[in-house]
Amino acid sequence: MSIQTPAATALAVETKGLTKRFGARAAIDGVDLQVPQGSAFGFLGPNGAGKTTMIRTLLGLTHATSGTMRLLGYPVPAERAQALQRVGAIVEEPRFHDQLTGRQNLHIIAAARGPEADARIAPALERVRLSERADDKVKSYSLGMRQRLGVARCLLADPTLLILDEPTNGLDPAGIQEFRIMIRAMVEEEGRTVFLSSHLLSEVERICDHAAIVDLGHVIAQGPIAELAGGADRHEVIVGVDDEDRALTILHASDLVADARRSDDGLRVVLAAGPETAAAVNAALVGAGIAVARLEPVRRSLEQRFLDVTSKLRADEGEAAGVVA
């Protein structure tokens, strides 16, 4: 069996209106997703958001209810076999035949992938630093070793795309750091695409350069991490003044300001236009005789952005449910 070159495409994963229902409940609902080739892409969401269902649907482990999807340019499920030739995946925790050694477990998968996968067993074990324990039974492996063996199993495909579901679950800090370095190397040095689901914001922020935030089966936002964290269309500044009441009155009356409110560290002011309007807001306050001691842009983390969008979605869903009730 010869491995075919993936179809030429800029997107490693592309879905349109992808929906998976279990009865009346939609685990994923009309998801449009674009994962750029050669990126580390974080699929970020709280527990129960639909991350694993999305991965299982992409891989054909469960059937989509509706929508279309392409892996490495191949339509799935129509050309699933070709698409998966260059895809490696760990779904939930990696599982193995415990009665077999690590190497034998890889042979099992290599047998299904084709003869060329056999030649990749030794390098894959070397890559995840399991060569010395490769002939021990898997039942003697720690969780971290199993995770690494799971990655080795992915590497048997010489994957263009790696799909990893919560890959750092159960790893100790050293293991997480080692894993992070390995993923970055796969992306930066080997040009692979890594699609990584996680509920750990810091992990996604450190490993990935693109991300999608998912909750309740919907993709709420996606794009480069920097844009997601900043909120490309949201410019917010913290303003320290001597008279907050008067300042709020002026700010609420100004066309330059979309929103202004008190916070523990001063007034939080959302600018109506770009960051250049901060100077005009400052001038307006100073012109009204208010002393401005501080004016600085809010640097939002992905975590803040994540909490903003997921809590808003949950509030909206709650309201909708209330209206229906």
Binding site: M1, R56, L61, L84, A89, R95, H97, R113
Partner: protein
């Protein structure tokens, strides 16, 4: 999928089931242990009272032994192995990893069948060797079975253990649970089936029973009140084929359609 990949996949499935040492040990015990006990007891009886008890081996020993092996303990060994082949991937949680290779689910199912068949027959053959040793070594001058009788017995044992093994691969792939499969099949084959066969009012419908079809091909007279619903050879072949096709079909369907 070409022959090379098919053979590699069968080899991989064979590796999985043969390396489950506990399961294979129990299967080997079923195939050999009861025969060894049988020969020890019969030898002791013959030694203590040769007038009433004939030699442990010879034709009588072979006849009793092949029945034990083909219909009871060899079949039990085949159930254990077939079940492991059918449900092993799902039980271990690795079926999804096999699916992710892009290999068709039907191919993943299909490779289990010859692997289970091969191991079941190897285990049964070990039992058969024990039977032959006992038969010829303990004949004490009584007539030994002819070559054709031995071959007929071997073929019959391969038929019963092979069919049972394949059916349990299908059933286990359907249930994806070892314990449930073993309970269902043992319950049917060793409890329900003899009961059904003994209910004469069921008439010809008893011909659909797997054990009756096995009995038809027996090279020995089973002399069992529950095993003699008469049927023709074509009928017996059809009954066996239906059992195999139904359970293999169900197992393949489940493997192809289940969420993992």
């Amino acid at each position: 999928m070409n022959t090379t990949i098919a053979l590699r996949m069968i080899g991989a499935d064979f590796l999985k089931i043969r390396r489950r040492i506990g399961n294979v040990s129990v299967a080997l015990f079923f195939a050999c242990g009861p025969l060894i006990i049988f020969f020890i007891v019969r030898t002791a009886q013959h030694s203590s009272n040769p007038t009433n008890y004939g030699p442990a081996g010879g034709i009588a020993g072979f006849t009793d032994g092949i029945r034990v092996l083909a219909l009871l303990f060899g079949a039990l060994a085949a159930i254990l192995i077939g079940t492991d082949a059918g449900a092993g991937d799902a039980s271990a949680g690795v079926f999804r990893d096999l699916v992710v290779t892009g290999r068709s689910r039907l191919a993943l199912f299909a490779s289990r069948v010859p692997a289970a068949l091969l191991l079941s027959w190897l285990v049964a053959l070990v039992g058969f060797i024990v039977l032959l040793i006992g038969t010829f070594a303990l004949s004490s001058g009584s007539p030994n079975p002819s070559g054709s009788t031995v071959i007929d017995g071997l073929l019959w044992m391969l038929l019963t253990t092979g069919v049972v093994s394949v059916i349990t691969v299908g059933l286990a792939s359907l249930t994806t649970n070892r314990a449930v499969t073993i309970a269902i099949f043992i319950g049917w084959e060793f409890i329900a089936s003899p009961l059904i066969a003994s209910i004469s009012s069921l008439g010809n419908s008893r011909r659909l029973d797997l054990s009756q079809a096995f009995a038809h091909f027996s090279p020995i007279h089973l002399g069992d009140r529950s095993m003699n619903v008469s049927m023709g050879t074509a009928e017996a072949i059809i009954v066996l084929a239906v059992w195999v096709v139904v359970f293999v079909g169900l197992g393949a369907w489940r493997t192809r359609t289940m969420d993992t």
